[in-house]
């Protein structure tokens, strides 16, 4: 017989602690720097942009091989 389960989000619903407003204010403080309140996501965005640029310019290079001039 199969083993049953329920996803974590239902058996252990995500809750904010009572001091959520203080946490939020701290996250938005000026000392957080230019990466802001979500620094991890900002870094991931730059990883994405790097991958985008690499793939985009590889395509133009490939195009130059396929359609040679002269």
């Amino acid at each position: 017989m199969p083993k049953y389960g329920i996803p974590n989000g239902l058996v252990n619903p995500p809750r904010h602690s009572p001091d959520v407003d203080e946490r939020n204010a701290a996250l938005h403080g000026p000392e957080r720097g230019y990466l802001g309140v979500t620094p991890g996501t900002v870094v991931l965005v730059f990883v994405f942009l790097a991958a985008f640029m690499l793939y985009f310019f590889t395509n133009w290079k490939l195009l130059s091989f396929v359609w040679k001039i002269g």
């Binding site: 199969p2 083993k3 049953y4 389960g5 329920i6 996803p7 974590n8 989000g9 239902l10 619903p13 995500p14 809750r15 904010h16 602690s17 959520v20 407003d21 946490r23 939020n24 204010a25 996250l27 938005h28 309140v37 979500t38 620094p39 991890g40 996501t41 870094v43 991931l44 965005v45 994405f48 991958a51 985008f52 793939y55 985009f56 395509n59 133009w60 490939l62 195009l63 396929v66 359609w67």
Partner: protein
């Protein structure tokens, strides 16, 4: 302060109390017909998925030169079945379930005109069955695009038309349900972001289905001999307003599910709701013009028309995806940090519930959709680059990353929540369910990347034999193409195994599984913090 759940509101006096139940987990009132409409549409989508994935196994084992399983005629037949069953039936049935969930369930409302909604659902079922019969019996070997002058049996077109009419009816019922909910005050303020995203999906669906009618009705009449001919260029232009726009229904529905899963799994807090809503509006305004990128090498359109549609309008839709690609992970990060997972740059990600199939499916859906599907898609939208990619395996490499690894993955993830919440059953084979998103993401990553690279070396799409055996000309390929096609099979079979696992889990849970009856009325209380920025949970109305 608001909470992630919407407070129960006074019911309409005309609706008997027994027509609603209160969800023991979320506290929402769920209308009886809404629940059953979600169930039937979801089950129909799983049946379509099963047919589609069986066809997929036949396809990957044929595209793998070392096996080359199917004869040519069956390859094209199965390719037609795969495309129609997956891209149309599986996806749109599931989207109908999403619309009823985002409308009636999230707004705690009754369904407007439930009998009409049921008529729409059964019309879709009849249309899907009719189309499947025509395809499997070899009377519609025209591939999903059914480009004229390829002609299928009239009942094939009739089946598609019936399916589209049924979907349109259900979409209109969704809009009517929004009016009912607003009039009966079942929610306060604006609709939740998830519902807002579903509304954009529904608007795009109406645009899409009207284009579908505009092209399939004349084609149906042509197949009956009542119209002498259909112009192929005109067909392609209008058909892609259906074919590509329908994928944008997927994108809007998928992004809505991203916000939903973020809220359910980690209590994500939307960074800036105006930005997210604006991004959804960009989809509505610009995504239909993006269909023009399918016509970039067609001779009948001017370069100016192509450039305006694909290099300006399309980028506005791409901008919308990039905005969501930032705001969804950012809302997850903010939610996690507010819950105390605030260590370092990526502590929030490390401490995330990776064993929750809803969460892992959410993350993999975002990553593969964005990194593989998004980047490849934008490059194809450039006219010059499209010349080297057109009709090669790079194209299916791209759209399998978006529709399969993105949309289907998100649908799978939310299924693990819909089964307890809507079917009121526990998840069977839960350990397998926890692994399923990993297997699917891994398989699809190998599959899409290998397909893309094989296409880069010139391997054609939609072709039974890339070696062109017995042809009067020689078509040399780099030897790496064979290796890549082997990886396509490996990744495809891994993903197919994962899909079979998903179907087993879903079917066993729904029809043979243990009931799920939470004792206490628990709310996933994710509060909306006060100043300074007032971010809001994705499920809360503003």
């Amino acid at each position: 302060m608001t909470t992630a759940t919407i407070p129960a509101a006074p019911r309409a006096a005309a609706v008997p109390r027994s027509d609603f139940r209160v969800c023991g987990t979320t506290g929402r009132r769920i209308f009886h017909d809404a629940e059953w409409l979600i169930r039937v549409n979801a089950v129909a989508s799983i049946v379509a998925l099963l047919i589609g994935v069986i066809a997929a196994v036949g396809l990957v084992l044929t595209r793998w030169p070392a096996v080359h399983l199917l004869p040519a005629q069956w390859f094209y037949r199965v390719l037609t079945v795969h495309g129609v069953s997956m891209l149309i039936f599986f996806i749109i049935f599931f989207e109908m379930a999403v619309l009823h969930f985002a409308g009636a369930v999230l707004l705690s409302s009754r369904i407007a005109a439930p009998k009409v909604a049921w008529a729409g659902t059964w019309t879709m079922v009849v249309g899907a069955v009719l189309t499947e019969i025509m395809m499997w019996s070899g009377k519609a070997d025209v591939l999903m695009t059914s480009y004229v002058p390829l002609k299928a049996h009239p009942l094939y077109y009739l089946g598609i038309i019936l399916f589209a009419v049924g979907a349109l009816v259900q979409t209109i019922i969704f809009f009517a349900t929004l009016v009912v909910a607003k009039r009966e005050k079942t929610y306060q303020g604006s609709v939740p972001l998830v519902t807002y995203g579903a509304i954009t999906a529904a608007i795009i669906a109406v645009i899409t289905l009207l284009h579908g009618a505009a092209i399939y009705v004349p084609t149906f009449l042509w197949s009956l001999g009542l119209i002498p001919a259909i112009d192929p260029q005109l067909y392609r232009m209008i058909w892609w307003a259906l074919g590509h726009s329908s994928q944008q229904i997927n994108v809007a529905a998928m992004v809505s599910i991203w916000y939903l899963l973020g809220a359910l799994t980690v209590g994500s807090v939307v960074l800036n709701e105006k930005i997210s809503r604006t991004a959804f509006v960009l989809y509505v305004l610009f995504i239909s013009m993006a269909s023009a990128h399918h016509l970039l090498v067609d001779p009948g359109f001017s370069p100016a028309w192509k450039v305006v549609n694909t290099s300006y309008f399309m980028y506005m839709a791409v901008l919308a995806s990039m905005l969501h690609g930032f705001t969804v992970p950012a809302s997850i990060e903010l939610g996690q940090r507010l819950r105390g997972f605030n260590q370092g740059m990526f502590g929030w990600l490390k401490r995330a519930p990776w064993g929750d199939p809803g969460f892992s499916a959410l993350i993999f859906s975002i990553v593969v959709f964005g990194f593989v599907g998004g980047i490849t898609g934008v490059t194809f939208g450039t006219e010059q680059i499209n010349i080297i990619a057109h009709n090669t395996l790079r194209v299916p490499g791209h759209f399998h990353a978006t529709v399969v690894a993105g949309t289907a993955m998100a649908f799978m993830g939310v299924t693990y929540y819909l089964i307890p919440l809507i079917f009121r059953k526990q998840i069977a084979f839960f350990r397998l369910a926890q692994w399923q998103p990993y297997l699917f993401a891994g398989g699809m990553l190998v599959f899409t990347m290998s397909m893309t690279f094989a296409g880069t070396f010139g391997a054609p799409r939609r072709h039974w034999d890339i070696g062109f055996a017995n042809a009067p000309f020689d078509v040399p390929y780099h030897p790496v193409v064979n290796v890549m096609l082997g990886f396509v099979a490996l990744g495809g079979l891994t993903a197919a195994f994962s899909v079979f696992s998903y179907i087993l889990i879903a079917v066993w849970s729904v029809f043979l599984g243990k009931p799920y009856a939470p004792g206490a009325l628990e709310h996933a209380e994710v509060r909306n913090p006060e100043r300074p920025r007032q971010p809001t949970p994705a499920l809360a109305g503003r």
